[in-house]
């Protein structure tokens, strides 16, 4: 073995049992300079924890006591897009027999150059550990034309200890990709890293479902770079897990790019969902629209952390709006929100709004007066509330997302 576990261990401050296991796994992987950089970045923090400002509400270190299989396999079916499926299942990867026109897949054993993943602890960890011995390290999706059909990425464990996967997407000038992702858990610790580099005039629509069980940790990290006049639309529905974080770091690299980052979280007792995003307006005249909605029950936790950073000269003529609205459906529900606008340019339009509250008793009474039982009225109002954030989803799976939200609310909202 080329790498000594004890040397690697010394890079971490107070590694816990889960981190020691991850270090041992890293030591088994083939050496690579890129992977080493990612590992070094991960070693800086270890599993992120509450004493780190960006992780104060979402503590992976204390949630993952040990790397172990969950009590159940994935409970939730992937979104109904059965064609062109790439599935990451524990140590196995299955690729589709056919691909939509315009898409090519390249399998790489070692990690490719990072698109900034090392700035996110779990992104760095995934880049360091996504490799399988003698197998796929990074899957590269190259999109060279207008794609004819959606590509569906599924991460789904079968009572695995971990499920780490890394995908890089290159969108050539003027090309478009319709990407659907179902992250349905089934592993004690799942972490998915996607880096999307969009060249000029590219278009990507990304539709995401996240649903783990109450004894799993799940991380979805997306690093997005936008070229000139490119358009990126992200729509995510999260049900959380014991701890779950959907983190998006997006950079407007060239002017006149357009980003939409919408999401909804629904958290029952014992579930935690975190939407964190960082948007850098690194080029003039770019647009960002962000709507995040959440509904949380007693014992559930929702987190929203959003940041827009608009530098002095290059950020001129930015147009950005961030909205977060949460419904606390019961006493004992918890929502933590930190919306941040950091603006140094002087000719911009930036706004944000952040609200949280209960369902409106006037609306509930009106509905009950018409004969709709209270639980059904609450579910209907909550569904209508979150549905707005899901309008941009792929139309082939949007109804399934709304159905999932509806049945969650009908079964759990009382």
């Amino acid at each position: 073995m080329a790498l000594s576990v004890s040397d690697l261990k010394d890079k971490f401050r107070n590694p816990g049992p889960a981190e020691l296991e991850l270090i041992a796994r890293y030591a088994m992987l083939p050496e690579s300079a890129q992977r080493e950089r990612a590992f070094e970045a991960f070693a800086e923090t270890g599993l992120p924890h509450r004493r780190m400002e960006a992780w104060k509400w979402t503590d992976f270190k204390s949630a993952i006591k040990a790397v172990e299989a969950p009590s159940k396999a994935a409970q939730c079916a992937p979104l109904p897009a059965a064609e062109h499926v790439i599935e990451f299942a524990g140590s196995k990867v299955s690729l589709p027999d056919t691909l939509p026109a315009g898409i090519e897949l390249h399998e790489r054993a070692d990690a490719q150059a990072l698109g900034g993943a090392e700035t996110v602890p779990l992104g760095a960890m995934t880049a360091a550990l996504s490799g399988r011995v003698g197998g796929l390290g990074t899957l590269i999706i190259e999109v060279a034309g207008e794609t004819s059909a959606p590509l569906h990425i599924v991460t789904k464990g079968d009572r695995d200890e971990t499920n780490f996967a890394r995908v890089a997407v290159i969108v050539r000038p003027g090309a478009s990709l319709d990407l659907i992702e179902s992250h349905v858990g089934g592993a004690g610790f799942s972490s998915f890293l996607i880096e999307i580099g969009m060249q000029d005039g590219g278009e990507v629509r990304r539709t995401v479902l996240q649903r783990g069980s109450g004894d799993e940790a799940q991380a979805l990290t997306a690093i997005i770079n936008l070229g000139a006049k490119s358009e990126y639309t992200q729509t995510a529905l999260a049900f959380g897990a014991k701890v779950a974080r959907l983190e998006t770091r997006l950079t407007h690299r060239e002017s006149e790019s357009h980003a939409t980052l919408n999401g909804a979280y629904l958290c029952a007792k014992g579930f935690h969902a975190d939407f964190t995003s960082h948007v850098l307006h690194g080029a003039p005249s770019s647009v960002t629209r962000q709507v995040t909605k959440g509904a949380v029950l007693d014992g559930g936790t929702g987190v929203f952390q959003g940041k827009f950073l608009v530098p002095r000269t290059i950020g001129q003529h930015t147009d950005a709006d961030m909205q977060h609205q949460a419904l606390l459906l019961e006493d004992g529900a918890e929502v933590f929100a930190k919306p941040e606008l950091e603006i140094y340019a002087d000719d911009v339009e930036c706004a944000h709004g952040n609200t949280s509250g209960a369902l409106d008793p006037n609306q509930l009474f009106y509905m009950r007066q018409r004969g709709i039982p209270e639980a059904q009225a609450r579910a209907l109002l909550t569904e209508a509330f979150v549905a707005e954030a899901l309008e941009g989803a792929n139309e082939g799976v949007r109804e399934a997302m709304l159905d999932a939200a509806r049945s969650f609310l009908t079964e759990t909202v009382r």
């Binding site: 008793p361 009106y366 009950r368 007066q369 018409r370 004969g371 709709i372 039982p373 209907l380 509330f385």
Partner: protein, 256 residues
């Protein structure tokens, strides 16, 4: 004639514990099936409180008396049970429900009531046919019925939508709370036509209003004057005309 709605010495308070204020104070009233009764009264008489107490809104506590609909104790039921029993309130201020289209809302309500009564749900084609016919009658376009309930509707449109819901749900007993407020003359006529179309020997109605003008279009069988939380005078349709001419002070002065 058998009373359909029967209120006997009903009393109710609004507000919490120490702050509780008596608004309805020993109110008795009987409305037989097939009749339309009007309740008129000055501001603060307890008109809207009466409609909320009868429909079971939170925040109102019944402190005495009884209220029955066809012999069943209304006060013992949840709001949705009262609705399934056939009690409908046309709200003075209809509530906006963002994200829920009118058609979805009404169909959900209709089927919830039917399920509660052990009846079959309405089929989609039957529902659409009925809603188109009634929509046309009330000048509500198909496009409006697809919009979220009451969101962005004018005051008059909201009131027409209340009557639309009433005609769709076909309640046994309807309470119309200040249905004329916010209506211009044409809309008033449309709304009144809708209400009159629902008059039949099996259905009772209570029309709560501040002004006489609605009663020009919906002719009541009886008129009651509500003041200080109780009915202080009852008469025929001419009582409404007298109130209009002499004012509440005149009529109340005589009653006191």
């Amino acid at each position: 004639m058998r009373p359909m709605l029967k209120l006997d010495q009903l009393s109710a308070t609004v507000g919490e514990d120490d702050e509780a204020k008596t608004i309805i104070d020993g109110l008795s009233l009987e409305v037989p099936a097939g009749e339309v009764h009007a309740i008129m009264g000055p501001n603060g008489a307890g008109k809207s409180t009466l409609s909320y107490v009868l429909t079971g809104r939170d925040g109102y506590e019944v402190t005495g008396g009884t209220a029955t609909l066809e012999g069943d104790d209304l006060l013992d039921m949840d709001p949705e049970e009262r609705a399934a029993k056939g009690l409908f309130l046309s709200f003075q201020y209809p509530v906006e429900i963002p994200g829920v289209p009118v058609m979805t809302f009404v169909r959900t309500a209709m089927n919830a009531q039917r399920t509660a009564r052990g009846e079959e749900e309405i089929s989609a084609p039957d529902f659409i046919k009925k809603s188109r016919e009634l929509g046309a009658q009330l000048n509500l376009s198909a496009e409006m019925l697809k919009r979220p309930l009451n969101v962005g509707f004018s005051g008059g449109e909201k009131k027409r939508l209340e009557i639309f819901q009433m005609m769709m749900l076909e309640p046994r007993f309807a309470i119309l709370d200040e249905t004329d407020s916010g209506l211009d003359i044409d809309a008033l006529r449309t709304v009144a036509d809708g209400v009159n179309a629902l008059r039949n020997p099996e259905r009772g109605m209570l029309v709560i209003t501040h002004y006489q003008r609605l009663l020009d279009h919906i002719k009541p069988d009886r008129v009651h004057v509500l003041a200080g939380g109780k009915i202080i005078k009852t008469g025929g349709p001419d009582l409404a005309l007298r109130l209009e001419k002499e004012g509440y002070d005149g009529v109340l002065g005589e009653a006191a």
